[in-house]
Symmetry: C2
Subunit: 367 residues, 2 copies
């Protein structure tokens, strides 16, 4: 599965795998794809360094990338405490009431919230980049908007390609204007932050808008036939995130969450602002339902909502409170029905791709 | 573009075109596709007969189909007047206030509402079928649920294949159990009634669920590359509706509406209950916005909402009140940027399909 972009990156298959787990990212790269390690969950720079050391040792010299969440708009001198102070008391009360209703225990005294996602605060993302630039990463992806110009320049100085996610042709054009190298067209059906336009329409629209920049198709892809579809739509590769969550190498916080993912159907996700403040697709749970309730408060804007719910999410995960337990995941969750090694998933993708190509060739009268 | 289904129907290309306009349906059939005439807008059976006569004369003996909107649940003895009586006064007032706010003139005394869609009342749909069964139609499609068993039996008795739209694998399985021959997997991005699952995920899910029944991919398709994607996802054909709305042969109610469609982007649609009571994708207008307003009433369930708004829609269309003027259309509306003959659109589809197959073959190392 070769495109101009896969050749440029020196990978066998134009399959990009986004994952927060180093063991998954390394396995994707070893299988002939391109593993992208999500850095947003790393609070401390030395933890990221430790995991990138591990990636170096387990990727056989093959290429991989890092994904950060860096806001394009620079906010000078705002601390986490300043942002905390902006959270209304009524919202804090609603969170505690929702947890109490489900009997979620408190964290122990002094126990840190493990899920405290601060990676989208600019100074945290920058400290992650300082670490990442010390490693031979080949791709820097940004999950929200174009990275600031100095970051793009620094990446290019290290010979690193820069990618960013886009949910519309307008966003994609902004990335092109910012000097980025790759656009990830993230459709409505994707896990995590998404817009309203579904992949079938979004992918070709973004390809046309940013031509000749390469585009990766993201959202709804978890099989070889879907890869063939994404490439038929004009993409130079595909970007898969959800499908790796139920691999053996994934280190989800709990077996109960894995079971929920394996049991979920394509209709069991919701695009909700409950987790980060921006619409993000995730498992539908009683937690997301609580934030949809017209009687309750509306989610706060990013980054307030993420800070507001951080401790709650940690408690839900730690105590495996099943009705509230969720994670970002796309509509492809309906296809995730067995826990398997990354290599087995990858083999299915490449074999299914070949079968899909055989099939369309028969339809086109070419076989 | 040949599949088992296209061969069975005797068509050159597995492209199914749904349209309310006989001239469009006939042109699709003449071009080598399969035109499907939507019957829902016909109130009187003799109007449908007149248009099917015309179709017979303009399809060169090639096959075509008819689409009705028939509820699976039989409601005995309920008249339109009974249903009218169920509409709350507050809703009627809201409609009149919304029209007044935009200065929409009244219809003349005794002037009938042209947009009075009664085709989804069972007795109307049945009278349409009585007419359709007198013509050599090859396919009967139902837009909402499986048709009643006696209708399926009657169609099969005439050698007519029966299809129905499905927005989930569960709906699709219901169609299979009801003895239907074809499932149209209608993705989130489609115009008209849709579910939440986007085509990239829905198509293969429905294909797997109803195997070996043939599936048509619908939603988001308006180019040859999207046809290639739909077929790669396992469909035996594609079902396109929106793309024909801006053809020369389409008889939209007003040039202003055509202009709105040509100007709209993929983000300018909304999935709203404002038109029929069930979620249907359509142009976003100040009319759909009014029904999203939390201060206003919620749309009524089908068929109440359709009856409630029928006269309003007629007035908006007749007087071309631009801010309120809309129509069901999918996210592919962003691609509809020139008024052209059906044959030109069709040629683009087949040529674009060949180019997309060339491209994926190069990526797969087969070229």
């Amino acid at each position: 599965m070769e495109t101009e972009l896969s050749n440029r990156l020196g990978i066998e298959h134009a399959i990009f795998g986004f994952t927060p787990f180093p063991a998954v990212a390394a396995a994707i790269t070893r299988a002939g794809g391109f593993g992208v390690l999500g850095a947003v969950r790393y609070g401390a720079a030395d933890e990221l360094a430790r995991d990138l050391d591990w990636m170096q040792e387990h990727t056989d010299g093959k290429p991989y990338g890092v994904d950060v969440v860096m806001p394009a708009k620079k906010v000078e001198g705002v601390t986490e405490a300043d942002i905390e102070a902006m959270i209304p008391e009524g919202h804090r009360r609603f969170v505690q009431e929702t947890l109490a209703k489900h009997g979620v225990p408190e964290l122990a005294e002094g126990e840190a919230s493990g899920w405290r996602i601060t990676g989208w605060l600019e100074h945290v993302a920058r400290s992650q980049l300082d670490v990442a630039f010390d490693y031979p990463v080949k791709l820097l992806a940004n999950a929200l908007g174009s990275p600031p110009p100095d970051v793009v320049e620094r990446a290019h100085g290290h010979g690193i390609l820069v990618a960013a996610l886009a949910g519309s042709a307008r966003h994609a054009l902004h990335h092109k204007d910012a000097g980025l190298d790759i656009v990830v067209a993230q459709g409505y059906e994707a896990g995590g932050h998404t817009g309203e336009i579904a992949s079938m329409v979004l992918t070709p629209e973004v390809v046309r808008a940013v031509d000749p920049l390469p585009v990766l198709a993201a959202g709804g892809i978890g099989s070889g036939e879907q890869i063939a579809a994404g490439l038929a739509l004009g993409a130079q590769g595909v970007w898969l995130g959800s499908i790796w969550l139920t691999t053996d190498e994934a280190a989800l916080t709990s077996p109960a969450l894995t079971e929920k993912l394996l049991a979920a159907g394509s209709g069991d996700t919701v695009r909700s602002r409950a987790l980060t403040g921006k619409p993000a697709r995730q498992l539908r749970t009683e937690w997301t339902d609580a934030w949809e309730d017209p009687e309750g408060p509306d989610p706060l804007p990013m980054p307030l909502q993420g800070l507001l719910v951080a401790e709650a999410v940690s408690r839900i995960q730690k105590y495996e409170v099943e009705p509230l337990l969720g994670t970002p995941v796309g509509q492809i969750v309906g296809r995730m029905d067995a826990k398997r090694p990354v290599q087995a998933v990858f083999d299915d993708l490449t074999r299914g791709f070949e079968r899909a190509i055989d099939r369309v060739n028969r339809i086109a009268g070419r076989a």
